[in-house]
Subunit: 207 residues, 2 copies
DNA sequence: CCTACCGATCGGTAGG
DNA sequence: CCTACCGATCGGTAGG
């Protein structure tokens, strides 16, 4: 597992040490996968981006597929652990949903490339990593749905289908990664707060 | 331009007649592009799906890129013309937004493959079609944003950033194409109505 | 980290 | 609609 420059916004088990050069390769691959897609990116493209010849890449990484798997696994695990950290110790459903959506939107504003790749390249991902990523995504969606169901039971939310609402909220937040550019003057935290508000309105948060 | 089996839910200039076999090829390609992506699909895959050898495809179509362009152009134009039809003659901002989102979500429930391809394969699309598709998407987003701005001016909506809201609403609707399966018992019209309601809640529709 | 090179596959054409 | 085939490119290895 590798260093993906996630800064301090994620808590995951320690990863193996990795050379600076390997980090460069993973980072360049991530940018290219996000821009052109996995199948639309060649190892020659990746090599050029880091200033070497294609065969030299294999001194730092195993295969092209391993590059994809690293990003997908790491990001999916980070999403779950950030969700847990966000709602941990919070009982009020309104606050739980607000924090969960805020954390998710924040991730997509900060890590747009990862967001794009995770949501677009599932079909290029090979088992068993593919299955683990699918399970993690499913678990996260279910967790959001349960927050909404809990809020409905307690009368905090007015929503017909918590499942439909969870889909709408999650995809809305994912899309932040597609347009967010920090240089537009908008801060990631502001966007995340806005989307958390959108989510609360969407589930009919009682005034 | 080709027949994409859009039924009667779209109004576009008449398209050229096209052989049934050509329609089959376009349809198979669309399914594969949606499933594996443009670069992840080979012409051999397409040929197998319609029961012929790869070189025979070229008796019906020009190039692989032309297959992508047909879907992208047709779908993008259909989105704009469905928007126009939906809001035409409707003055009330609440009703305008409801109808616009309903039409957009309905399209994505009915045409999940097209939705996936249009939103994922922009980077595989070549100019000049790419530029036209980008302009059409931009125009549609701006049109939705203007409906929201109008509603804010007239006091029907309570929303800080109509631009942010338009992004959230559009992406939420696009995602319907990713999970909607008619056999789950849910009808496309029901989903579309739900998403229209979500959109109105999101912009803080005054009660 | 390089050059040289591997077999496989790509989109597409020729010619019938 | 087929077989035969084209040059280009793919991911990856050998060997230094």
């Amino acid at each position: 597992m590798r260093r993906l420059s996630y800064g301090d916004d994620v808590t995951l088990p320690p990863r193996q040490a990795e050379s600076a050069r390997a980090t460069d390769v993973h980072d360049a691959a991530l940018s290219l996968f996000a821009e052109r897609g996995y199948h639309g990116t060649s190892m020659k493209d990746v090599a050029e981006a880091v200033g070497m010849r294609a065969p030299s890449l294999y001194n730092h990484i195993r295969t092209k597929q391993a590059l994809l798997q690293a990003t997908m696994l790491y990001t999916s695990r980070a999403v779950m652990s950030e969700f847990d950290a966000a709602v941990s110790g919070v009982a009020d459903p309104v606050e739980r949903l607000r924090r969960a959506v805020r954390a998710y939107a924040l991730r997509h504003a900060r890590h747009g490339r990862e967001a794009l790749v995770v949501n677009r390249e599932l079909s290029a991902l090979e088992d068993p990593v593919r299955t683990e990523v699918l399970m993690l995504r499913r678990a996260h969606q279910k967790a959001i749905q349960e927050v909404i169901e809990e809020g409905r039971r307690t009368g905090h939310f007015d929503i017909g289908s918590p499942g439909l609402a969870s889909f709408a909220i999650l995809e809305m937040a994912v899309s932040v990664g597609r347009w967010f550019k920090p240089e537009r003057g908008l801060r990631p935290e502001e966007v995340a707060d806005q989307y958390a508000l959108f989510a609360l309105r969407l589930v009919g948060r009682a005034p």
